[in-house]
């Protein structure tokens, strides 16, 4: 079976290199957390995977589909959720989901059933027929997540999906994501909340200066830095420390 995501020699520069020859593989059906300091290149990488940015060079394959040559086919099996939920203020959650289902051409009856289920699971039922314009950040994020899941993507890409969510909303989102992984979807998620990565992810990748500098399970990362019993925070800080710091 093809890997869920295969990135080879990926590069993107703006005024300076943001992603610099990145290689990354995410296996089908796993929950993969991508960590890195601010400006490390995590979001840029995921935006290129989602088709929101064109790389300068490199290859991206999603379940074996070349995402750069066949973007429409790749997008059909992918979903993207950013940290800043972009939804339509004048639509209700149900209408938003109906629109997303129209974009992905999901069978209406199936889309309606899935939407009802997602709205219920994410606790949006009381607001399903209210316009999104008065929603809190957490509610907007849940609507965006429901939109990402309504077409049952095989690869779900999430960029800081828990930013700004209260504990209850964060728990609902995490539960929905774990349930998706259990039912066979693959998730790749960036987060600054290391505890989330530690608890949810099967494997963790650490990006620094546009390159993957460490990867593995928590245990593998621990052995990578040679300090057993360290928390993920200690391991992360050790890994991303700049080369000049390490030399000192």
């Amino acid at each position: 079976m093809a890997d869920a995501l295969s990135i080879r020699n990926l590069a993107k520069s703006f005024d300076r290199p943001a992603v610099d020859g990145l290689d990354l593989t995410v296996r089908a059906g796993e929950f993969y957390a991508l960590l890195g300091p601010n400006g490390a290149g995590k979001t840029t990488t995921l935006r290129m995977v989602a088709g929101l940015l064109r790389p300068d060079r490199g290859d991206i394959a999603i379940f074996g589909v070349d995402a750069l040559r066949l973007p429409v086919e790749a997008k059909r099996i992918t979903a993207w959720v950013s940290d800043e939920p972009m939804i339509y203020d004048k639509l209700t959650p149900f209408e938003y989901l109906a629109f997303v289902a129209g974009l992905w051409q999901v069978e209406p009856a199936i889309a309606q059933a899935r939407s009802q289920e997602l709205i219920a699971v994410l606790g949006l039922e009381p607001h399903a027929h209210e316009r999104c314009e008065g929603f809190s950040k957490g509610m907007r994020q849940k609507v965006a997540l429901a939109g990402a899941l309504v077409h049952e993507p095989r690869l779900i890409i999430l960029d800081e999906p828990l930013t700004g969510l209260d504990a209850g909303s964060a728990r609902q989102v995490k539960d929905v994501l774990l349930q998706r992984v259990r039912s066979g979807a693959t998730i790749i998620m960036t987060t600054h909340i290391l505890e989330v990565a530690e608890r949810m992810a099967e494997r963790i990748g650490v990006i620094a200066r546009g390159r993957l500098v460490a990867e593995g399970t928590l245990e593998e990362l621990r052995s990578h830095v040679g300090e057993s019993g360290s928390s993920l925070e200690d391991i992360f800080l050790e890994i991303v420390r700049a080369p000049q710091d390490l030399a000192a």
């Binding site: 989602a50 088709g51 929101l52 429409v72 086919e73 997008k75 059909r76 992918t78 979903a79 993207w80 950013s82 972009m86 939804i87 339509y88 203020d89 004048k90 639509l91 209700t92 149900f94 209408e95 109906a98 629109f99 997303v100 289902a101 129209g102 974009l103 992905w104 051409q105 069978e107 209406p108 009856a109 889309a111 309606q112 939407s115 607001h127 027929h129 209210e130 316009r131 314009e133 008065g134 929603f135 965006a144 939109g147």
Partner: protein
């Protein structure tokens, strides 16, 4: 230490206003400032030339008589309604814009000071714009009749102060009457209707009564002149002041200053309360009873078109802004009605007006559909080619334009099928041209930034306007069966080509 004095706030506001203006004028490229200054000088020279040509036929008839007073007072009244409209827009923004009010009102600074200052800034902005617009006419009159005519500037400033005071009273009154949720929309719609409605109304009256578009014809109508009070009437005080009565002008200025100061003093105390009430509306929810988008089998293109139309329908402010552009179709529609059944020659003038309106309407809608996408990442990550998305959005725009202009074209067809056909084709071209310009200069923005769409690229603004004007001119010429229409069309094509190249460079 008391830092938040009136002067301190004034400096802060002036700095922000200057940077805002600079960003707007230069579209974020300060290096263009020299060129903009040069363009403004050229523009001012052209306006003076136009003013001179417009004034010249009336030079001998300008004097201290009822006819002159009628034209001046009528024109001042129309200018005042425009100032009132601008003032209402600014005052509404002062209540609803959240940019820095949370910071300021949560500080120990006085909300009364902030409000007073912002209303003062509104009055200043309104006066400045009016002075710039009226300036060429005043300068030409001063050149021909002597420097005492410069007193008109004082009258314009007085009118601006009075219009701002009235705008404050009207908006705060609406706040009390309708509450925070409804005031925003109602104030914006009232402002738009007041701004354009009176001017268009006078034009419509001129058409219905006299069969032409001249406002002067309305003011100088014999029945008006006969009904007007004598030259010593108080009604003519502003006109007499504008014609060089310095004492009267200073008295008017003093009254206007006093009225504005009293208005600010009377309303500033409630400013913080109104702002807090306005901030509360972002938490209000609207339950949507009838679903606009439901789970039906739709093609991607239909889903996109449907979404665009639904979002437009559910945004009364955007609808009002678009309808305002249609309001300008009223005078030509009336002219059509007046000339109905006449020779086709009279209808030739209508084709360009309808075409121009179609272009303007399409430009605004195209910006909303192409640049004003509130969920760009959703659409970009959907399994649809960018071309298909653009096509669907353009279809949505052209659909609305067709809905707006088709009834007029059908009415035109009854009088002259040929002119109707020319108008229809030209409307399609103008709408397509304006949409193309918006496509060439597409830049992601929120729909709420609609008001500022023209600041993202000066070139796009001018290109959109000139493409519409050129195609409108071509329509007029073609309707008159003049082969030179081809040159106007070629010119429109050249502008589109330049817009395409400039847009590509910018991206």
């Amino acid at each position: 230490m008391s830092a938040a004095t009136l002067a301190w706030f004034a400096r802060h506001e002036a700095r922000l206003a200057w940077r805002d203006w600079l960003a707007m004028a230069t579209a974020g490229k300060p290096g263009r400032l020299r060129w903009i200054a040069l363009a403004l000088v050229v523009f001012a020279a052209i306006l003076h030339r136009i003013a001179d040509r417009l004034i010249t036929p009336y030079v001998d008839s300008i004097g201290s008589d009822v006819a002159t007073f009628l034209v001046m007072t009528g024109s001042a009244g129309l200018t005042w309604t425009l100032m009132l409209s601008q003032g209402m827009e600014s005052v509404t923004r002062a209540f609803y814009s959240r940019s820095d009010l949370d910071l300021i009102l949560s500080s120990p600074a006085s909300g009364r000071t902030v409000f007073g200052l912002r209303i003062g800034a509104t009055a200043f902005g309104t006066a400045l714009l009016a002075v710039l617009l009226v300036g060429p006419f005043v300068n030409i009159l001063a050149w021909r009749f002597g420097p005492q005519m410069l007193a008109a500037y004082g009258v314009v400033v007085a009118l601006a102060l009075l219009s701002t005071a009235f705008a404050v009273l009207l908006t705060t009154g609406l706040f009390r009457l309708l509450g925070a949720k409804r005031t925003r929309l109602v104030a914006q719609v009232v402002a738009a209707v007041v701004g354009a409605g009176f001017v268009i109304g006078v034009q419509a009256f001129a058409i219905v009564s006299y069969g032409n578009l001249s406002r002067v014809a309305v003011f100088l109508a014999p029945e008006w002149v006969e009904a007007a009070p004598g030259i010593e009437s108080m009604l003519w005080l502003p006109a007499r002041a504008a014609l060089g009565d310095i004492g009267l002008m200073l008295a008017l200025l003093t009254v206007a200053f006093t009225v504005l100061a009293l208005t600010i003093a009377a309303t500033a105390g409630r400013f913080a309360d109104n702002v807090i009430a306005a901030s509360g509306i972002s938490h209000l929810r609207t339950v949507q009873r009838a679903s606009g988008l439901d789970f039906r089998p739709l093609s991607v293109a239909r889903a996109l078109r449907h979404k665009e139309w639904l979002l437009l329908r559910r945004d009364p402010w955007l609808v009002s802004q678009s309808l305002m552009q249609l309001l300008y179709l009223l005078p030509p529609a009336l002219l059509l009605w007046r000339k109905f059944g006449d020779k086709a020659d009279a209808l030739v003038v209508l084709a360009p007006v309808i075409v121009m309106a179609a272009g303007q309407l399409a430009g605004g809608l195209a910006w909303l559909a192409i640049s004003g996408e509130d969920a760009p990442e959703l659409v970009a990550t959907a399994p649809v080619t960018p071309g298909a998305v653009t096509r669907a959005k353009i279809e949505a725009v052209l659909g609305v334009v067709a809905l707006a202009v088709l009834p007029l074209v059908v009415a035109l067809a009854v009088a002259s099928p040929f002119i109707a056909l020319v108008t229809l084709l030209a409307c399609g071209m103008a709408a397509a041209g304006a949409t193309a310009v918006q496509f060439f200069f597409r830049a992601q923005a929120r729909r709420s930034q609609f008001r500022r769409r023209q600041t993202s690229s000066r070139f796009a603004t001018f290109a959109e306007a000139f493409v519409s004007i050129s195609i409108a001119a071509a329509a007029g010429l073609a309707a008159a069966e003049n082969w030179q229409a081809i040159f106007a069309l070629l010119f429109a094509g050249l502008i589109l080509l330049a817009a395409y190249r400039s847009g590509s460079r910018q991206r």
